[in-house]
């Protein structure tokens, strides 16, 4: 096996929460408020439900093939070459996703804090640390995350509480009446695609010390993520109302900027930066590791470490190439990413694999 590490259930939950939450917290409300207006929070509930289904799909699939990851079992199910093609698609998807996230992290820093700094500086810094972490293996960044995630969640909670004086929950009314169901469902697509990254469970299962816990891990992580995103969404809507929320790039950031208490507790954006950088770092490390590991397994190498640097270079170059501006990034994430990630990689292919596996009776009955 290219990766020798083992992590326990709690560590896996932490990892799966860090994978989605810290960056989504900042911008999710903008997309949902644009489509579903004040019913954006219902979209989040729907998205959480969708993510739970995806989690079930990924875990069921993973458990059928003990010791094999998402990059290996397609071969068993579909035969050598079709399986290789599917695995290659997934490698592409993970590389692409990591590049997008990297671009997003850099864009946030440049557009909000340091407009004159070239984006490559931030990306290079994050990638250098991430590459080092990934080389050290799964266990290392899992443990780093055990320190980072409580910090991030703690800050997110404190920020939401401090912002409550600005909130007016009546901005969430009327509920669900005038817009009907369609905008709410449309608004759920994007958050579902982010939370659907839980499909990564299909890569992580072989590295759990107790594979049986996989269901619990996936469900708990999704529920925690869903809860925090919901709270952030409601907070943003209650402060800004749907129209203004939809106008902001990062409503979560503006929420933190709104905090001003007792004339001294104000201008807390550095905390936003902390949440973003710390959380984004774990997220990038995880996907980077998956991409490197997947490439190694696809090439049937003994170790993924030689691939860390080449994959990193590809990620960095790709993240610069994919978009010409932050507006391009937004249009892409807002319109294309949902259908692309959700239908193909999070639901479509896993469902196809599961159906074929069941029909062919492959994979051990759940142990």
């Amino acid at each position: 096996m290219p990766e020798g590490g083992k992590i326990d259930g709690k560590q896996a939950i932490f990892l799966m929460v860090s994978m989605v939450l810290p960056t989504t917290f900042f911008f999710v409300a903008s997309v949902t408020a644009h489509l579903a207006k004040q019913d954006g929070w219902i979209s989040i509930l729907l998205a959480t439900l969708g993510a739970l289904l995806i989690a079930w799909l990924a875990v069921s699939l993973g458990l059928r093939f003990p010791g094999k990851t998402l990059f290996q079992f397609p071969e068993v199910i579909l035969g050598r070459w079709p399986g290789k093609v599917v695995a290659l698609l997934y490698i592409w998807w993970y590389i692409h996703m990591t590049a997008e996230i990297l671009r997003q992290s850099g864009s946030f820093m440049v557009s909000v804090f340091m407009p004159e700094t070239p984006i490559i500086v931030f990306e290079l810094l994050i990638m250098a640390i991430a590459a080092y972490t990934v080389r050290n293996g799964l266990e290392v960044f899992t443990r780093v995350n055990q320190i980072i995630l409580p910090l991030v969640l703690g800050l997110v909670i404190i920020m939401n509480i401090l912002a409550t004086p600005e909130m007016n929950l009546r901005r969430l009314l009327p509920v669900f009446m005038e817009n009907g169901a369609v905008p709410v469902i449309k608004g759920a697509v994007m958050p579902a695609a982010w939370m659907g990254e839980i499909v990564t469970m299909a890569v992580l299962i072989p590295y759990l010390n107790k594979a049986k816990e996989a269901y619990r891990v996936a469900v708990t992580a999704t529920l925690i993520t869903g809860f925090f995103i919901l709270a952030a969404q409601i907070g943003d809507l209650a402060i800004f109302g749907p129209e203004v929320t939809a106008g902001w790039l990062f409503p979560g950031l503006n929420k933190i900027r709104m905090i001003h208490l007792a004339n001294f507790l104000e201008r807390l954006e550095p905390i936003a930066m902390t949440i973003w950088i710390a959380g984004g770092f774990v997220k990038i490390s995880l996907f980077y590791w998956v991409a490197a590991l997947g490439s190694a397994q696809w090439l049937e190498l003994k170790d993924y470490k030689p691939l860390v640097l080449p994959v990193g270079v590809i990620l960095l170059a790709l993240s610069i190439m994919v978009h010409e501006s932050i507006l391009g990034l937004l249009t892409f994430l807002g319109t294309f990413w949902g259908p692309y990630a959700l239908t193909l990689f999070q639901v479509g292919i896993p469902l196809l694999l599961l159906v074929v596996a069941v029909l062919r009776g492959q994979g051990g009955a759940r142990h």
């Binding site: 340091m114 407009p115 009327p174 106008g247 900027r257």
Partner: protein
């Protein structure tokens, strides 16, 4: 040894990296904006006026040895957009213009009458300016407001900012202003700022005390969508605050029942406003319930307030006074300006989401024709340190 060398190497590297970063701005390189004003210049141009903090003037230990020099500096320039004007200003300010400490944003009357939407976007967009700055409309030009100076504070912008924060009238921050601007069924309002006589300047060397004129908040500016349509004076602003149920503090003064030429004042401690829309398919009306509680702190007359009946009569009188003020603001909004500035539209929207779809496009008309029923309750909860008026007069 190898480790030690590596550590040393890292330390050396750090001295290079940690000491600075790309977009760093040292305090001594900044021109800190305290107040900004936007006026309309000919040809739809923007005249941007900035009140800048003079470096050093705000540091501690300024014992006034320098004497009369003001700690601020006001510059203004015209441009096609706010940013364009700011760019031109950069040509004559030796420092980097820094928005993050801007306290107030003042729109000139002309600019406001032609619509503020044209000017707000820069402040919405730029990461530097804050959502918490106070928005106000000048009676006259914004430039004049920023050119005043303050006797009590270091700069007039901060002075006006403190006035807005005290919420003696209606004050609104940028966030709430853009929320009102973008919400259907709500029209924005902002504080009105005007130059008034604020006090007498005293000094031992001065022969005669001089009158100090300064900027102060004198009411409320009323918008239709993004265009200024008129003003509410200070007493109408009280009514506006009651109706919006926002800041229900203040003093209510009403003539005494027993001796009509004498007055009684109650200090309002808390209150609540509830707006219930009613719609029967044809006409819209609102039931407004206002409840206030307060302390009776001044009584010119001599009636016995320990007497329950007297007290109840007084409370009724106070309630009537509140209703009167509220009606004043309502009348002006309905009859004179025809705009809903009380968020009644939002209340209607919440209760009748389906009917709202039909009415929202002509909401201001509907609002102007809507009936409003008031139920006002006032309660005297405390009476200061006195229970009854000492009978000196007899």
């Amino acid at each position: 040894m190898k480790k030690l060398l590596a550590c040393l190497f890292l330390l050396v590297i750090m001295t290079v990296v940690i000491s600075g970063c790309w977009s760093r701005k040292e305090m001594s390189e900044l021109a800190i904006v305290l107040g900004a004003g936007v006026d309309r210049a000919p040809d739809d141009q923007v005249r941007l006026t900035l009140q800048l903090a003079k470096p050093g003037a705000f540091t501690a230990g300024g014992e006034g040895g320098g004497g009369k020099e003001t700690p601020t500096w006001v510059v203004s320039e015209t441009g096609k957009t706010v940013l364009d004007a700011q760019r031109k200003l950069a040509g004559r300010i030796s420092r980097h213009i820094y928005w993050a400490h801007d306290v107030i944003l003042v729109f000139g009357e002309e600019a406001a009458r032609h619509g503020v939407l044209r000017y707000t976007n820069y402040f919405y967009r730029t990461p530097q300016s804050r959502e918490t700055m106070w928005i106000m409309v000048a009676k006259g030009e914004a430039k004049d407001i920023l050119e005043t100076h303050s006797q009590l504070e270091k700069s007039s912008a901060q002075d006006i900012g403190y006035l807005a924060r005290a919420k003696t009238g209606y004050s609104v921050n940028f966030k709430n202003f853009i929320v009102m601007l973008s919400t259907r069924g709500a029209n924005p309002i902002a504080s009105r700022v005007d130059i008034v006589e604020r006090g007498i300047t005293q000094g031992p060397e001065q022969e005669k005390p001089t009158i100090h004129k300064g900027a102060a908040l004198t009411g409320t500016a009323v918008f239709r969508k993004d265009k200024l349509v008129g003003w509410l004076d200070e007493s109408e602003t009280r009514g506006l605050l009651w109706l919006r149920g926002e800041v229900l503090k203040g003093v209510i003064t009403t003539p005494s029942l027993a001796e009509p030429d004498k007055e009684i004042s109650m200090d309002v401690i808390r209150g609540s406003t509830e707006v219930q829309p009613q719609y029967d398919g044809e006409s819209v009306w609102f039931n407004v319930k206002i409840v206030v509680e307060g302390d009776l702190l001044e009584q010119q007359s001599g009636e016995e307030i320990l007497d329950r009946e007297v007290r109840e009569a007084l409370e009724k009188e106070i309630a009537r006074e509140i209703e009167e003020k509220t009606r004043l603001a309502l009348e002006k909004a309905q009859r004179e300006y025809g705009v809903d500035i009380f968020d009644f539209g939002e209340a209607f929207h919440r209760k009748y989401p389906k009917d709202w779809l039909e009415l929202k496009d002509r909401w201001d008309e509907v609002f102007a024709g809507a009936g409003v029923d008031f139920t006002v309750e006032a309660h005297i909860r405390y009476s200061g340190l006195q229970s009854r008026r000492t009978a000196l007069e007899e």
